[in-house]
Amino acid sequence: MIDRRPGLRVGLLLTPPMLWLGVAYLGALAALLVTSLWTQNDFTGSIERAWTLENFRTLFTVDVYRTITLRTIGIAALVTVIDVVLAFPIALYMAKVASPRLQRILVISVLTPLWASYLVKAYAWRGMLSADGPIAWIARPFGLDTPGYGLPAVVITLSYLWLPYMILPVYAGLERLPDSLFEASADLGAGAWTTLRRVVFPMAFPAVVAGSIFTFSLSMGDYIAVKIVGGTGQLLGNVVYDNQGAANNLPFAAAVATVPIVVMLAYLTAVRRTGALENL
């Protein structure tokens, strides 16, 4: 029976993962949106299932939340740009210049920090940036100082954390480009820069976008690195985290969490046409 009905076979195979992701996960996301329309009783701390847009009104009208939202999007964009600028030359060197042996070594040296724990890397930057850490030690003879803990430290740390997520997809994208394209472009009279600008970059663009999905999304949702190196600075993730838990305001946390969902869905929709999703 299964042999004669491929549709049934596909259905049976897909049912368990779809129950998990489609029903449980999407259900939880939907419930989150529903919860954001509820309120919390200030006295009892229990959640009242009465419909209201109060949470969103607070989110959009209170200045501090608007500032934090814009700041989070700004930092996510800045981190993404920094990572593209750092990753592209490295990926190009790995894919098109390095010998196969060196290529292998470089891939491993990009991958190894990726496997080092996220917390350890954020923690390492806490040590780097501390008032008597190595950066202050190097900078002091030049009359400079460590940026200390704050939003610049957050940008540095997040760019550091997500750099491999940009290098790897861009490297994979560039490696797929046939060398003959470079030769054809040169034969037609283009210099190296023109080739990079008019041939390589447009063709590697979907891979760059694929990397940016990681760097952007991971930055949008981060609250731990901010806690570790951000000083008193806050991102959306901190607002969400501080409002969850029994004693706090889960409906408001849910409302705040819809911001990264909307931003990411808009971003994914916008980049779908570049074919970036096949590069993930």
Partner: protein, 278 residues
């Protein structure tokens, strides 16, 4: 990694040199903070002043006796193993279901599989916490962590298995069926051996992803469940625990070489699907 061996593409020597120099410089900077963690684990100064006034093995001894860190490590391994087991089953089923079939909603399913890693961790974490506590009335426990972790681990197995299917095609399985083997026999003798190394790669990634996860975990763990990242985070800001945390961090830096080594042994194709990691 089948690139053409001639590296004489149309780039000037100067450009190639500067690309190489830039690569070496950035990668060197990438390793500096990790080295700092290693060096500071031997620093006699427990506020990690730089340069270190002296070196000691004292903190390593203290850390080795820290039962909190050890218990957290065990919890982390348990969670990662369970989440990986679930991800292996669901990821493989999804990849087999989407193989060679084009139907309405296929892209939607692919998107759904990516979604848990494409959305920020706070969203997935809060959605699960809200789902468990507010909607279902379930207490948070080690199992709620496993469920949340398995959700974002599915994509690693799915990506690896799907890449393998695309590379090998279906001819071996068709030959097996033509020779009279049934579906189950074909799966056991042909499909599974064909997938084995991609399953191992997916499992390795999934384990690493779960083991390292902190954001989703903080939302789905009860106050009694401490995974290693949660233990680190909780002890990070306690001055008297800082040197012990630093030793644990140093151990994790060293341990990150293990999966790299295993991945190299597995197939030599480290790039396959590894970009799905987080």
């Amino acid at each position: 990694m089948a690139t053409s061996s001639s590296r004489s593409i149309a780039m000037s020597r100067g450009l190639r040199r500067s690309l190489g120099g830039f690569t070496v410089l950035v990668l060197a900077v990438v390793y500096v903070p990790l080295l700092l963690v290693l060096i500071n684990s031997f620093n006699t100064d427990n506020t990690f002043g730089w340069p270190p006034p002296g070196f000691t093995l004292h903190w390593w001894k203290v850390a080795a006796e820290s039962s909190g860190a050890r218990d957290a490590l065990v919890t982390s391994v348990e969670v990662a193993l369970c989440a990986t087991a679930v991800a292996l089953v669901l990821g493989t089923l999804a990849a087999m279901g989407l193989r060679r079939t084009r139907f309405f909603g296929r892209n939607a399913i692919s998107l759904l599989i990516i979604l848990p890693i494409a959305l920020p961790g706070i969203v997935t974490g809060l959605a699960f916490q809200n789902g468990f506590r507010t909607i279902l009335g379930v207490q948070l426990s080690i199992w709620t962590i496993v469920i949340a972790h398995a959700t974002f681990c599915i994509v690693t197995v799915f990506n690896n298995v799907q890449a393998r299917f695309q590379r090998l095609g279906a001819s071996y399985e068709q030959a097996s069926m033509d020779l009279g083997a049934g579906r189950w026999t074909t799966f056991r003798l042909i499909t599974f051996p064909m997938l084995r190394s991609s399953l191992l790669a997916g499992a390795l990634l999934s384990f690493g992803l779960s083991f390292d996860e902190i954001v989703v975990t903080t939302f789905t763990a009860s106050s009694q469940d401490q995974t290693l990242p949660i233990w680190i985070l909780q002890n990070l800001f306690r001055p008297n625990q800082a040197p012990v945390v630093n030793v644990v961090a140093a151990v994790l830096v060293i341990a990150s070489a293990v999966p790299i080594y295993l991945a190299q042994r597995l197939s030599g194709s480290t790039a396959e699907g590894l970009t799905g990691a987080r």
